[in-house]
């Protein structure tokens, strides 16, 4: 299948620094053998991050590296350029690029490879561009610096790349500064920057993870086109199996720095051999089950009634939003970044005072300002944040973090607080011995559990969950969702669940509200909203969620070009 997908030879780029005969597709360009990378601090050797990994990459081939965080995929990606993160050392193995071992090279020789031999595309384009320089300056820098082109040639090449990547007004696009283009465009500009010196290998490190689903489709399509037309070999690092299915020829599954499985893309996705891979794949499939409906006759816990809110009186971020949440309900607020879903949570909490409308809690109107709310009103609405790292004070022990709401709201004695914290820890399956640990000593999933019991400690009626699983690994996030569901069944709490991930919605929410530009465009029971006839925006969102079929991207692109969805949604935006 690899050869079928390849473009005809004349489309491939002309040879620059090599003889044409060396440029044959299928020739091995990178060979990694028994690569070991360890973290080492001044306290002595640390954990082994990459453990005897071997891989080979041929010209024109895309190898997907899949794994959860801490699997060592980024570390491997950087190692192909002879680079390691601060505090990490390559302790064994060979990295052979074009017949030469990168580890044996001098740092000058290594520098020559970077950008020209191997180029890197990082997850956060916004953090990787210099905000004080135009895109042209930054895209042209690599070939000019390596002495491959003059500035004028590099500019022409950049315009050519911008055209290939479907960027708007390619001739003048590069005159803009990074903040003047959208996130998806910037990510593509970064691909142009990486391609500028015509490298042999591109390393994509989670390049679409930070993007919205609808943008992800466009960027993914642009990347695939780029890689195919230039016949460049690529390492595609991601945690999302469905994304890698669209672009990779072969897939390697990693876990804790060790290789789990490697094989042809279709084989790994459809007939995984190893148990771990099967769990990763199975999780995706499971996500299409819908939560059963709950009793609808009770009065709502939270009523948001025609609320308007804005920042600084200028931009209306929330526009006439009305939503009800009942006891035992999970209402998912879905939308892309900037749709106002997190702002709505801030309005409910009282951090951003509403301008119009009313927020009622168990029938009584809540003051708009946080300051004017009573202790009991504050207690009954709790919040769980997206990033457990910054949601928990790193200098407080779990006893202090979880015990504080108990002591604060219920005036309990020291012993009672301690007993309650232990009880809460047990509820989320954390051992009692964690009582005196600091958040830094816990894993991401454990930290999120602590966030959950901090909210539970206040014995609330409503918990606002702001993207609680998006910073977590797939399998860990799945456990958190199960935990939330179980706690809801035991305690009858209502959830206002903010997320951009439609898979999560289907798994946890019985009600959905789809937000676009501060308005709710569709709402109702999950089953109804996600079944035809759709609102056009809902349909766009649904169709943008990658599926684990290799031909999914082609289908979506074909549909978008012919279908009626596009113009309508463009008009909405």
């Amino acid at each position: 299948m690899t050869t079928e997908r390849r473009p005809p030879a004349e489309k491939r780029r002309a040879a620059g620094k090599h003889a044409p005969t060396e440029r044959r597709l299928g020739e091995e360009i990178l060979l990694v053998e028994g690569l070991c990378i360890e973290a080492r601090s001044e306290h002595g050797p640390g954990p082994v991050l990459v453990d005897h990994i071997s891989l080979s990459l041929r010209r024109g081939e895309v190898l997907g590296l899949i794994g959860e965080s801490g699997a060592g995929k980024s570390t491997i990606g950087l190692a192909t350029m002879g680079y390691t993160r601060n505090g990490c050392f390559i302790s064994g193995g060979r990295i052979v690029f074009e017949g030469k071992d990168i580890r044996q090279m001098s740092s000058d020789e290594r520098r020559k490879i970077r950008g020209r031999g191997v180029a890197y595309i990082a997850q956060s384009a916004a953090a990787s561009f210099n905000p004080a320089m135009t895109l042209f300056q930054q895209v042209c820098e690599v070939p000019v610096r390596h002495g491959l082109m003059s500035m004028a040639e590099a500019r022409t090449a950049a315009i050519q790349l911008f055209t290939e990547l479907d960027l708007p007004n390619p001739a003048t696009f590069g005159d803009r500064y990074p903040h003047q283009v959208s996130g998806g465009q910037l990510q593509r500009a970064m691909a142009a920057m990486a391609m500028a010196a015509k490298p042999d290998i591109l390393v994509f490190d989670e390049p679409t993870t930070a993007l919205d689903v609808t943008t992800q489709v466009e960027v993914l399509a642009a990347f695939r086109k780029l890689v195919r037309e230039h016949g460049t070999a690529a390492l595609y690092i991601t945690h999302d199996l469905a994304v890698v299915a669209q672009i990779a020829d072969r897939i390697m599954v990693l876990r804790h720095g060790k290789m789990v499985e490697v094989g042809d893309a279709t084989q790994v996705l459809q007939n995984p051999v190893e148990e771990y891979t099967r769990r990763l794949v199975a999780d995706r499939v499971e996500s299409h089950t819908v939560v059963a409906l709950r009793r609808p006759d009770e009065p709502p816990v939270l009523t948001i009634d025609r609320v308007d809110a804005s920042y600084g009186n200028v931009i209306k971020v929330i526009d006439n939003v009305s939503v009800d949440v009942r006891r035992g309900d999970t209402l998912a607020l879905v939308g892309e970044s900037g749709s106002g879903k997190s702002t709505l949570a801030r309005v409910v909490i009282g951090l951003l005072p509403r301008q119009k409308g009313d927020v009622r809690f168990c029938g009584e109107s809540l003051p708009a300002h946080l300051h004017n709310r009573t202790k009991d009103q504050r207690r009954r609405i709790q919040m769980i944040y997206q990033m457990p790292d910054v949601a928990l004070n790193p200098r407080q022990t779990l006893l202090e973090i979880v015990g504080r709401p108990v002591a604060f709201y219920f005036n309990r004695s020291r012993e009672e607080v301690r007993a309650r914290v232990i009880e809460l820890l047990r509820q989320v399956e954390l051992p009692e011995s964690y009582l005196n640990r600091l958040p830094g000593e816990l894993s991401g999933g454990q930290k999120q559990r602590v966030s959950i019991i901090r909210a539970l400690a206040a014995e609330p009626d409503l918990i606002i969950c702001d993207e609680v699983t998006s910073a977590l690994d797939q399998l860990v996030g799945e456990e958190i969702l199960k935990l939330l569901k179980r706690l809801q069944e035991e305690l009858g709490i209502a959830y206002l669940f903010i997320t951009h991930d439609l898979g999560t919605v289907k798994r946890i929410a019985n009600k959905v509200a789809v937000m676009l530009k501060g308005r709710i465009v569709a709402s109702g029971d999950t089953a109804e909203v996600f079944a035809p006839p759709y609102h056009p925006y809902t349909e766009l969102l649904l169709s943008s969620v990658p599926e684990m079929r290799a031909d999914w991207l082609d289908e979506v692109l074909a549909k978008r070009q012919s279908g009626p969805v596009n113009p309508l949604v463009e008009a909405l935006r």
């Binding site: 390559i90 290594r110 949601a391 928990l392 004070n393 200098r395 901090r454």
Partner: protein, 275 residues
């Protein structure tokens, strides 16, 4: 060698040695010093010998003893002033960051006003008007110095206040004092400790400068700055007396800076490749 689990660089070791020797001299001055700081034991400007290690000064007092008592006064005074200025600066800075816009604007503009005046001249005016008692000296320098601490602690706190655990505490309904003490302060300690060392150096030099100008520590109390002032003319006559306190000031400043540099380097190790 290690300290707090971190490897000590050679300069850090030198710095720590200097600081320890100075502090020991200051603390144990009455025990170590062979004579009292105001005791006249011989002729003016007597040369050094076995009894008077550094010789005698303009009134015939033992220079070595005065150096030790001078350390006590200079270092002790700087420590008290730096601690006081940190208490004022940290509390005001954190309050400005947490309490909201109006307090922030008010405090920041007052600090701008104080910072816009040349510190030495401002202190000069204040001390001339208020007199040169030790409490006045301490209060004046501490308040002037606290403006810089305010700037740093406000900036550090601003970065912490936006984090979600502080927001969670605010939403819970915690008071200002709790947020400052329990949520912000523990996380602001590393940069503030390093700043403490630097501010100590500046205070130390500032007192020396004031004493040199006659507005700092008053005789007969020994203090390195006033010692330089008292003996400065003798440099023309080939007597080394003013060089000892001057060298002590320089040495301690360098020593503290070595330690501070090392502390700062712990938190900001440069990037490198390990291939």
């Amino acid at each position: 060698m290690r300290l707090f689990g971190h490897k000590l660089t050679i300069t850090a070791q030198i710095g720590i040695a200097i600081v320890i020797i100075n502090i020991a001299a200051a603390v144990f001055a009455p025990l170590i010093a062979p004579f009292d700081q105001a005791e006249i034991v011989g002729d003016a400007w007597a040369d050094p010998d076995g009894t008077y290690w550094l010789g005698l000064d303009n009134l015939g007092r033992d220079l070595f003893s005065r150096m030790l008592f001078g350390a006590r006064m200079s270092i002790g005074l700087s420590l008290v002033i730096t601690c006081l200025s940190f208490c004022i600066g940290i509390f005001a800075g954190f309050a400005a960051a947490v309490a909201g816009r109006w307090l922030d604007i008010l405090l920041s503009r007052i600090v701008d006003l104080l910072l816009s005046l040349p510190t030495l001249i401002f202190a000069f005016v204040l001390l001339s008007v208020l007199g040169t008692d030790l409490p006045v000296l301490i209060g004046t320098i501490a308040i002037l110095d606290s403006t810089r601490v305010f700037r740093l602690s406000r900036a550090v706190a601003m970065n912490i206040v936006v984090l979600e655990y502080v927001e969670a505490a605010k939403v819970r309904g915690e008071g200002l004092w709790w947020i400052v003490r329990r949520e912000i302060l523990p996380n602001a300690v590393p940069p503030l400790v390093a700043e403490f060392g630097l501010r100590f150096c500046f205070t130390f030099l500032f007192i020396a400068a004031l004493s040199f100008l006659g507005l700092g520590v008053q005789p007969p109390e020994a203090d390195w700055g006033s010692m330089v002032k008292d003996y400065r003319d003798m440099i023309n006559l080939g007597v080394a007396a003013p060089l000892y306190p001057a060298a002590a000031i320089a040495l301690l400043t360098v020593g503290v800076n070595f330690v501070v540099d090392w502390m700062l380097s712990i938190h900001s190790r440069g990037h490198g490749e390990g291939a």
